[in-house]
Amino acid sequence: MSDATHQKNAQNILRELRDAVARDEDTDDLEDRFQIALEELADDALRGQLAEIWQATIQADAEDAFKRYAEAVAKIKPLADGFALGAQVARDGQRGLFFPSAAALLDQISGILEELKNAADDVIDNVDEVKDGIAVAEDAFRKGDVNTLIDIGEKIAKLWSGNQDENEPGLKDKLESIKGELTN
């Protein structure tokens, strides 16, 4: 076959390829035929030109596909808000379940009651110590014994806050300030 015949053949296949691309079809077989048709051409420059047309077709079609993908994504994007709202409604519904909520609340209440009872028991257990402390404090106050007063204050604070007095920054400062006032 002459080179002119090969050229015509390649051009016909290229036309078929472009039509198939426009129809969004797979083009494997046509591409293989096109590659063979180009190889049969002896004219390197013409082969290059026909390849360039095919490449431009691929690129234009791809650009179009990427653009349509972006448009499709834009449609799905607002649904995130719908799902977030649905999740919120479901979580509110779960929090509103009466018996599980009541169980959690009552558990807290009975826990608080237990803590209160334990605290009350502690106070009752230590009531003598507190009374003794008050008597010593009265005596120290009469004598102006500031250090003993501070010491008693710290003990009371410790007893009241369940040995957590060192974590209450205000209390120590307050005691120091009283100490300052009394010694001046």
């Binding site: 791809a62 650009e63 596909a65 719908g82 779960q94």
Partner: protein, 331 residues
């Protein structure tokens, strides 16, 4: 107990006895997570393939292949647009999974009524013991709670599920439809990428030399192997032919591999569409069931819960209320 209160509780016990089981939303939540993973994996696979081809395109440009029909900047823009779109899709998928998890959690919480009743009963007992007072009404309350708490919690959860799922139904349907639309465009992108990849393989093999091979290799082979041929020249000619054959084989393998990758993506994308539709249908089915037959609506004739077994169950519950009432009166 006042007669009106008793009637009310009896009616509740009867309705609750008919309250059907809650659809297990944990499976749906798992399916939602799988769907999101599949969509994200596909986005990653496509993006990775774009990057591979972009790198090959740049290599070709550097090595001066015939790529005059392609423009690297255009493909870079395509790549960046796709990455941005994929991020947005993945964000929607994440919101969808959080919604599914919240539904599953609500559905599971609806089955914790018995556990809650045990906890309430224990808290009341503990509290009355701490306070140290006799509180006869607490015993009666615990009896009623024990009878109604389980079913009531389930019914309440079913109502909340129905409300949530009905209000989100539109988003679920739209999601499945949009996924199908996105997948259609992804298939076109995959097809374009495959064409690009095959063309790059063609150009990498040097089409001019491949053309020379096609037109001359048989004649050269025949001449090299002919009697009386110069052995040194014949050897050189055959070596050239073999080298070109090797390059040609590599090119054809790459072109076939691109088609295999594309077909695998088609399958994965089709599976995503099927999964999205099944996911949507399950949501619709559960939402419709709950809206029609969930909670205290379960005794409607079409729901099929107005049965002798349920009536017996209701009677048993009413009797247990009466028993606990009698016990408390004696105490």
């Amino acid at each position: 107990m006042k007669p009106t209160t008793f009637m009310l509780i009896s009616a509740l016990a009867m309705l609750i006895a008919g309250c059907g089981s809650t659809p297990d939303m944990s499976n749906w939540a798992t399916n939602s997570a799988h769907l999101a993973s599949a969509v994200q994996a596909e986005n990653d696979a496509i993006l990775k393939r774009i990057d591979i081809n972009l790198a090959e395109l740049k290599r070709g440009e550097a090595e001066q292949w015939n790529l005059s029909g392609f423009d690297v900047t255009t493909w870079e823009n395509n790549r960046n647009d796709y990455a941005e779109g994929a991020d947005e899709v993945n964000a929607v998928m994440t919101a969808m999974v959080l919604y599914a998890d919240a539904l599953a959690s609500l559905s599971a919480a609806g089955e914790t009524g018995e556990e809650a009743v045990d906890s309430i009963s224990s808290s009341i007992t503990k509290a009355t013991a701490i306070v140290g007072v006799s509180f006869p009404a607490a015993g009666a309350a615990i009896g009623i709670i024990r009878t109604l708490g389980d079913g009531w919690t389930r019914a309440q959860a079913q109502d909340s599920l129905a409300e949530t799922m009905t209000s989100t139904q539109g988003a679920v349907i739209a999601m499945a439809n949009h996924i199908e639309g996105i997948v259609d465009e992804q298939k076109d992108i995959v097809r374009s990428l495959t064409r690009l990849e095959r063309e790059l393989a063609t150009q990498a093999a040097n089409p001019n030399e491949m053309s020379w091979y096609r037109r001359n290799h048989q004649a050269i082979r025949a001449s090299a192997l002919a009697n009386g041929a110069d052995p040194i020249a014949a050897h050189a000619q055959l070596a050239t032919i073999l080298k070109l054959e090797e390059r040609r084989t590599l090119r054809d393998r790459k072109r076939r591999e691109a088609v295999r990758w594309r077909n695998a993506q088609y399958k994965a994308l089709d599976a995503i569409v099927s999964a999205a539709n099944a996911w949507k249908d399950s949501h619709i089915e559960a939402a419709n069931f709950l809206a029609e037959c969930g909670a205290l609506r379960s005794l409607q004739p079409k729901c099929g819960n107005f049965t002798a077994a349920n009536l017996r169950l209701a009677a048993g519950r009413i009797q247990s209320i009466l028993d606990s009432q009698t016990r408390n009166e004696k105490e």
